[in-house]
């Protein structure tokens, strides 16, 4: 496990304790009857024109976990979280957020959630400081406290130097951070993050991940959408794979990977002329179909029984077919997605706008 994750975890254990103490004094108890679910949704449907953007989504998301919505553009991820964040009404179905009815108790829900949209949801003409002060005032902080809180957040997100610059002059990573900072002026019990790292460089992406982990460590439930399989893999306790408005698979990343077989074998041949005989041997030995790829020296196969792999490679060597490389591992979420939907993540309708 990386140092970063470890550090965040240790630091935050103390936080959790503090937070619980505060909670004990609050009026949280009255909702405890609803169990430990942050979100419980049944049959959510949203229709835009003729298209069923969200088509019967059920969810059960435990408090204090990170839940990932994984799917291509236009799959219905954004529409689903917009419904859960009270921004748009479902055409059918309902949900309870911390036990509150999504349709009838919007105000109660709004006082416990926060949402960071896909595009920077802050005033780009204002400075970072002014934006955070405004948010703090809107959350109910007094004038002086709002400034203190804004400064504290700017410091925590590494934005002190940019405090007096207009947000429109921020880099993509800074924008994303100020955006998330604006969402946690008051730490929400449930935070919605719509594609929090889309378009960020790896370094900025790591920063955003660290922030998310810190929040979860403090007890916040996070629901995030992503098109990036590694992001869901890294952050989410559970993942729902969404396509055409439906959840087509749900589970931990390990469960999802296991559900599509043991893994993929890739064999790199030295001579392209060996392609056909090599494929025949492998199919015979592994009793699964072998796929040709665009690279005429590369063969790949989804393996059911990992025990057969070593023997199959041995037969190749015995038959005099030289290979330069082979790999065998658990499937990546990319492969999971390919198997579940029949096309790669993000491949479908790249230009198709997310309906919102």
């Amino acid at each position: 496990m990386s140092d970063r994750y470890d550090l965040g975890y240790r630091l935050l254990r103390r936080l959790v304790i503090r937070k619980e103490r505060v909670k004990g004094m609050g009026k949280e108890g009255q909702f405890l009857g609803t169990g430990d679910l942050a979100i419980e949704a049944k049959g959510l449907v949203k229709i835009f024109g003729k298209q069923r953007a969200v088509d019967g989504v059920d969810l059960a998301i435990r408090k204090g976990t990170v839940y990932g919505f994984l799917g291509p553009n236009g799959a219905g991820k954004t529409t689903t979280i917009r419904m859960l964040a009270t921004l748009t009404k479902p055409d059918a179905g309902n949900a309870r957020i911390f036990g509150h009815d999504l349709i009838d108790e919007g105000d109660a829900i709004r006082s416990r959630i926060s949402m960071t949209g896909q595009y920077a949801s802050i005033d780009e003409d204002l400075t970072g400081m002014e934006n955070l002060v405004m948010m703090a005032r809107l959350m109910g902080y007094g004038r002086k406290d709002a400034k203190v809180r804004a400064k504290e957040l700017l410091g925590a997100f590494g934005l002190e130097e940019a405090a007096k610059r207009q947000v429109k002059n921020y880099s993509g990573g800074m924008r994303r951070r100020i955006d998330i900072a604006a969402s946690i002026v008051v730490i929400p019990d449930l935070l919605f993050l719509d594609e929090p790292t889309t378009g960020l460089d790896p370094r900025s992406r790591n920063q955003v991940w660290a922030i998310i982990r810190a929040l979860v460590g403090s007890g916040t439930t996070v629901l995030l959408t992503t098109q990036y399989l590694d992001e869901a893999d890294q952050l989410a306790d559970r993942i729902a794979v969404i396509n055409h408005g439906k959840i087509i698979a749900e589970g931990t990343s390990g469960e999802l990977k296991a559900s599509v077989g043991s893994g993929t074998l890739n064999v790199q041949l030295i001579d392209a002329a060996d392609q056909v005989p090599a494929a025949e041997i492998l199919e015979q030995q592994l009793s699964v179909p072998v796929h040709y790829t665009r690279d005429s020296t590369l063969l790949s196969a989804q393996i059911n029984d990992p025990g057969l792999v070593a023997g199959a490679l041995g037969v190749l060597a015995k038959e005099g077919i030289a290979i330069s490389d082979f790999s065998f591992g658990r499937p990546s979420l990319d492969e999971v997605f390919l198997t579940l939907t029949g096309h790669a993540a993000g491949e479908e309708a790249k230009r198709e706008e997310e309906i919102s």
Binding site: R4, A85, S114, M139, A156, Q166, V186, W209
Partner: protein
């Protein structure tokens, strides 16, 4: 650039932790407090984007000069005489036209996503609009003062005196505040700033020109006269002219207030409904 995810930046990590730990949930703000916060936001936007004041400074000056010298000789025989008739009307026209910027600002908020953030806050939702409108009323006042001051330089001499001018400006502000609700409602429905501009042009152009702002409606064909008479812009122009020239009647004031109340009563609830239920 700071990076709290790498070694040697533990202080950042600690700051992040502290900022999370020190979060408390204050009581949600009252309606007045959140309205003032949104008004402050509008003021800060003026500070950072001063160009947006062109519509209440340069625009009125160009309008007044253009129409005084373009039509003065032809319609009234002399520009000085025409100015006495034209200034109250063109003031009404100019301010009516800039009301649409309220809708444009709102439309921009929606497209940029900040609108969604406001809607997930535990606040009295109309405060986002009312706060912005309050600052718009200040902008309308600025436009009015600039036009009247320029009018004085060009020879405008109202018989109603200072009092008359103040009453006239008040009527304009009440009317414009109410009129703005139409543009906030439209701003919530249309897809882009461009379509909003087009719609507002289609409404405002006939509404302001086919009125008694430029000419005495008696010279018009009778079918057009009846439109001019019920046109709310004419109603306001008549009252403003009356106030400035000391001939204001209670009836004229009543019609302006009635038109204002009607616009607010219809379009404010529509706006709030759309704001709350925007897809």
């Amino acid at each position: 650039m700071t990076d709290f995810t790498e070694s040697g930046s533990r202080t950042k990590e600690i700051k992040l932790r502290d900022s999370i730990a020190s979060s408390k949930r204050p009581k949600p703000p009252g309606a007045l407090s959140s309205t003032l916060t949104f008004a402050t936001r509008a003021l800060l936007r003026i500070k950072h984007v001063p160009e947006q004041m062109f519509d209440v400074t340069v625009f009125p000056i160009i309008f007044l000069l253009m129409f005084t010298y373009l039509f003065g000789g032809a319609i009234a025989g002399s520009t000085a005489e025409y100015l006495q008739f034209l200034l109250p009307g063109i003031l009404v026209m100019t301010v009516s036209q800039i009301t649409m910027y309220t809708g444009i600002d709102l439309n921009n908020d929606i497209r940029k996503g900040i609108f969604d953030r406001f809607r997930t806050l535990p606040i009295w939702l109309p405060s986002a609009l009312v706060g912005a409108l309050l600052i718009d009323v200040i902008r309308y006042s600025i436009a009015s003062v600039i036009m009247i001051a320029l009018g004085f330089m060009l020879g405008f001499r109202p018989e109603g005196g200072m009092m008359g001018i103040l009453v006239a400006i008040t009527l304009i502000l009440v009317f414009s505040f109410s009129f703005s609700w139409i543009w906030t409602a439209v701003g919530l429905v249309v897809r882009s700033e461009k379509s909003l501009m087009m719609i507002s042009f289609m409404v405002l152009f006939p509404l302001t020109f086919v009125s008694n702002v430029f000419v005495d409606p008696k010279t018009l064909p009778s079918w057009l006269q009846s439109f001019v008479e019920v046109n709310p812009v004419s109603v306001l122009a008549t009252a403003v002219r009356g106030a400035m020239h000391g001939s204001l009647t209670a009836g004229q004031v009543m019609w302006v207030l009635l038109a204002s109340v009607a616009m607010t009563a219809i379009f404010a609830p529509v706006t709030i409904y759309l704001y709350r239920n925007k897809k």
